[in-house]
Homo-oligomer: 269 residues x 2
């Protein structure tokens, strides 16, 4: 493939826009790591991969191309110019897959068997959102939910920053926060909102033995946090203790501390 | 000030390069938050601020300008063109201070009274390095050390990502890792290297009561981690437990978990 205007390239490259992604319910998984996750999902029937594009770096990706071929996925060897069209990064990583959306209905993410989920309420920064998914994955969370007005979970920067998290953590998207919180409560979970205004701090919560129960963590926007209405929905507003002079932590590090505190407590009990 | 070529502007703008910064031992603190920290330091004699540049956003920064004036600091109201010369960001924040370096000798960062320090070994990414400083600040660490071959702590991106951490956490720079580890050990500290290859995991270390002692955490490069030689210097190599399917966490979130685990243990004991 050398023609950036061919139909297959044009359709794939248009997945760079949110509107086109959501119209066709397909997204781009870029880089060897994301492609490997997509193919692993395809091999167990969890992810539908349509096309795989690879540039002159074919040799480096021999294993992935073999896996794709054996799954019957169309592999397109393409020029650098075509790859540049498909890539979100300044330095294209040489391999991109087109896959169907993998988000799930809310009931498959939050239900009676769920013990730990991350709820992202109007998180807008793709790097932060992806890092929270990565932390949720590392902490062994059962799921994640992106509220309405959050960044698109299929934004290439979110996919990249999640380093596989999007493929590992069952995720629901575009839901009103109130509906998600209600689902968590009906499923018997405690809902903790992470916010600097919290009356209880995370370490005390852990010491008081209040973390072993099934928990949904609510994380807010990187600039303005959680709205008053959202805070009011939570069972408890929890702050990260600041032992030094810092004003706060960033969203991804704060979320990591909360999710790991729950993960520790769940495994201890 | 409207002339980007005037001596005061030229000298300040050249602080964008590491070589010029280190020759003159001065750096740029950009944005209201960094300027506020610099002036707070100046008011207690801990930071020497030479010049303050502000653009048409004078009104927004009235409080800071008042503080600067009362400290006898030269305030330069300047054009947008001049501000663009001084700014590291695409959207200049309208206020920049020129301050003397604030790093300290190793003995003032690590000594008999130190209970928690972060040691950054060849960390190259400014965002990660700044985030580790911010986490060290939040966790109440007594200090931080940037090894030789690490990113410059006065790189504007490090200063910005530290969100005040550089001003709050006593920091030593440009030291061989072996010398820093030796100093920590002589000061009676345990040296824990954070690395995915660790034989013990952080949660077990906490459960086994091995965290209350004075601790120096060694954090490695974001791409290749810690070298074999550096790992061999540590008393223990500690991994973050991964409860899900993620391969790893990023440097800043891993460092946050380690520093907070120590901070909790130090306060419990």
């Amino acid at each position: 493939l050398t023609n950036p205007r061919s139909a297959v390239v044009r359709n794939a490259s248009r997945l760079a826009t949110r509107a086109f992604r959501h119209e066709h319910r397909r997204f781009l998984a870029e880089g060897a790591q994301a492609v490997r996750e997509a193919l692993a999902g395809a091999s167990v029937g969890e992810v539908k991969v349509h096309d795989l594009f690879v540039d002159a770096s074919v040799d480096r990706h021999a294993e992935l191309l073999g896996a794709a071929a054996s799954l019957g996925i169309d592999v397109h060897v393409c020029s650098e110019r075509v790859m540049a069209e498909l890539s979100d990064t300044v330095t294209p990583q040489g391999i991109v897959a087109v896959a169907d959306f993998i988000d799930r209905p809310l009931a498959s993410v939050i239900n009676g068997g769920t013990s730990l989920v991350a709820l992202l309420a109007e998180v807008r920064d793709p790097g932060n959102a992806g890092s929270v998914l990565r932390a949720a994955d590392a902490a062994g969370a059962d799921g994640a939910v992106f509220s309405s007005s959050s960044v698109d979970v299929y934004n290439p920067k979110v996919v990249r920053a999640s380093v596989g998290g999007l493929f590992h953590v069952p995720t629901a998207i575009e839901l009103p926060v109130a509906e998600v919180v209600a689902a968590a409560k009906s499923a018997g979970m405690r809902v903790f909102a992470a916010d600097g205004s919290g009356s209880v701090n995370l370490d005390d919560l852990e010491r008081e033995g209040r973390l072993p129960q099934p928990t949904a963590w609510l994380f807010g926007n990187e600039a303005w946090g959680l709205s008053e209405e959202t805070l009011a929905l939570a069972d408890e507003v929890v702050r990260i203790p600041i032992y030094g002079r810092a004003e706060s932590l960033n969203l991804a590090t704060a979320a990591t501390l909360c999710l790991y505190a729950s993960a520790r407590a769940h495994r201890k009990s």
